[in-house]
Symmetry: C2
Subunit: 351 residues, 2 copies
């Protein structure tokens, strides 16, 4: 999972490292929409003759290169459509991501084919095949944890640019846009340590990439403060539902040596911890990963670490459009920063 | 807005009123996927010869009619893609709707082009043109309040089936799937009356269809209980944001003759009422329209009227697929039921 050819950490959009003129440069020079250039280059749709001439003149003037032209000329290559494959839209994380990606794509003249896979490798595989079969110009994928070598087969002939978002994919090399999970885990745990907590539990489904990184940040923060991680306080959920998190919290809080604080690594898990506390009519210090609506309106406002989810979607879409335009620099890994919002549940006084 | 040719109220999917064989019947008979029939009928893509022969045999056997065939044969007519045009995905209402519609469409072999318009008539118009230009086989639209006669022009030549969801559109006739807004308004208000309230305010942006209906239900419930509606308690917000609702609640609750209860007609507005109450360190009886996550976890759990939003999306998608398959019965209006979930904020004891 670590074998990425190029790694850099940035919260800004990537520079366009490709200096060869792109279709978008042609559009700019000719003063026409990208879709018009695509029509001329691909010979599909109708364009007025004088417009087509202006586009051809721009192509010649800026030296839009032959190999780019050849690539664009492959039938259906630029369908001006991208595919977006992610998890359950009723998870606000995916909804924000989709919203932002659709906005960026539409503004650039691209339509978005939306598909959802819900962590099921078979469904994901079928959906990717379906999208590539529909000649999308590029794909944004939130990959599940399975092996993604199948992408190389499906995509072998078509070479559709792919950007992975939220997690990298094993077995397939492509751009990836992440949030700084490890730093988030560290910040959440450090906040609880700073409030005097020593017995801090972590709830997660560590088979997923992001939870593994959050766990690593948790362990580092504990060790730096001279606290030996207690494996009884590291709880691995099987699926990561609210109900599982609630049951696990119940077990933790009624054990012989309960934790005084919990770091819950997703929004669904945080809700489970809160529900268990209400059921037990007790409370525990909590820091959640990912902010959620009304977190500040609960009886004790909930402290969270969070990142800019819409920026995650925007950034992935911009990166993909650059790739579609011919940017062929080595794969990039972009990591967006996280921040802690202290609201109450992390404080010692709230127990 | 009432000029619909056919009106029936039902929470079940519509019967297929068209008894002529459809492309889906051909697929079933031939034992192949719908997309395969589409390929044979439209002459696009590749299908193995023996499969094509099986499809043609099924067409002849069940008498798939010539006019349907002719319609299907129009270039690009069945792209096996539908367009979905709705509001901000970070509104959980639209996210649930999209999720359900995408699931139904994908299962039937259709891909979904997603576009968002956010109540801006110009953006909606452009997005519709863009989707029809991409030869979608059908469109699901949450229309804004403006005149939709433009749809007849854009769509005049292509006759792409359209289903409106959540609101009907003025100036354009098509199927529409709604929730029972008036009954929801009545149930919310009646609940507050049953708790002993007489001064009940309503917050809404009544220029929208659904809010108008909710207001009508509110007025009817008051009149039936012999309460004269007080126009000072009917608050019209300009955009319907949480911030506006919060400010309006502040004004209402600090007035000389404040209401003892508020009916907030959307989830965003309910949040605004709750925020104003917290700011003023006071409380008021509340019933909200549309349920929301964590409504039951707030200091006083929030009473709501709600409908099955995913069913709204599923139903719209099924109806559209039937239309694409050739169902040409008169336009239908389907109204899904609403129910009240009593949780606390509507009760007299919570004030």
């Amino acid at each position: 999972m670590e074998g990425w050819s190029s790694t850099h950490v940035s919260s800004r959009p990537p520079h366009r490292q490709n200096t060869r003129p792109t279709m978008r440069d042609v559009a700019e020079r000719a003063g026409v929409a990208l879709v018009t250039v695509s029509r001329v280059v691909n010979g599909v749709g109708t364009v007025r003759e004088e417009t087509a001439e202006r586009v051809m003149a721009a192509i010649n003037a800026i030296g839009y290169q032959r190999n780019e032209l050849a690539r664009s000329l492959r039938p259906g290559q630029n369908s001006m459509t991208i595919g977006l494959l992610l998890g359950d839209l009723t998870n606000p994380f995916y909804a924000s991501l989709a919203k932002a990606a659709v906005e960026v794509a539409n503004r650039a003249g691209y339509a978005v084919l939306l598909s959802t896979a819900d962590e099921d490798p078979e469904v994901e595989r079928r959906a990717v095949g379906e999208l590539i079969g529909r000649r999308v110009a590029g794909l944004i994928i939130v990959p599940d944890q399975g092996d993604h070598a199948f992408l190389n087969e499906i995509n072998g002939h078509d070479h559709v640019p792919i950007v992975f978002v939220d997690r990298p994919a094993t077995g397939a090399e492509a751009d990836v846009v992440l949030v700084d999970n490890e730093d988030g885990g560290r910040k959440a745990t450090q906040h609880l340590i700073d409030q005097g907590h020593r017995r801090i539990a972590i709830l997660g489904a560590p088979s997923y990439y992001s939870t593994g990184r959050r766990l690593r940040g948790y362990r580092k923060a504990l060790r730096r403060s001279g606290i030996t991680p207690d494996s009884n306080l590291v709880v691995t959920l099987r699926r990561g539902t609210t109900e599982e998190a609630s049951a696990a919290t119940h077990t933790l809080l009624t054990s012989a040596d309960p934790p005084t604080a919990v770091f819950s690594t997703t929004g669904f898990l945080t809700e489970g911890v809160l529900r268990a506390c209400r059921q037990l009519q007790t409370s525990v210090a909590i820091v959640g990963f990912d902010d959620f609506k009304l977190a500040d309106m609960l009886p004790t406002p909930v402290t969270v670490v969070t990142s800019d989810t819409e920026e995650l979607g925007r950034h992935a879409a911009r990166l993909l459009l650059d790739r579609i335009d011919g940017d062929d620099a080595p794969s990039r890994r972009t990591v967006l920063p996280v921040q802690l919002i202290a609201r109450g549940t992390g404080e010692i006084g709230t127990q």
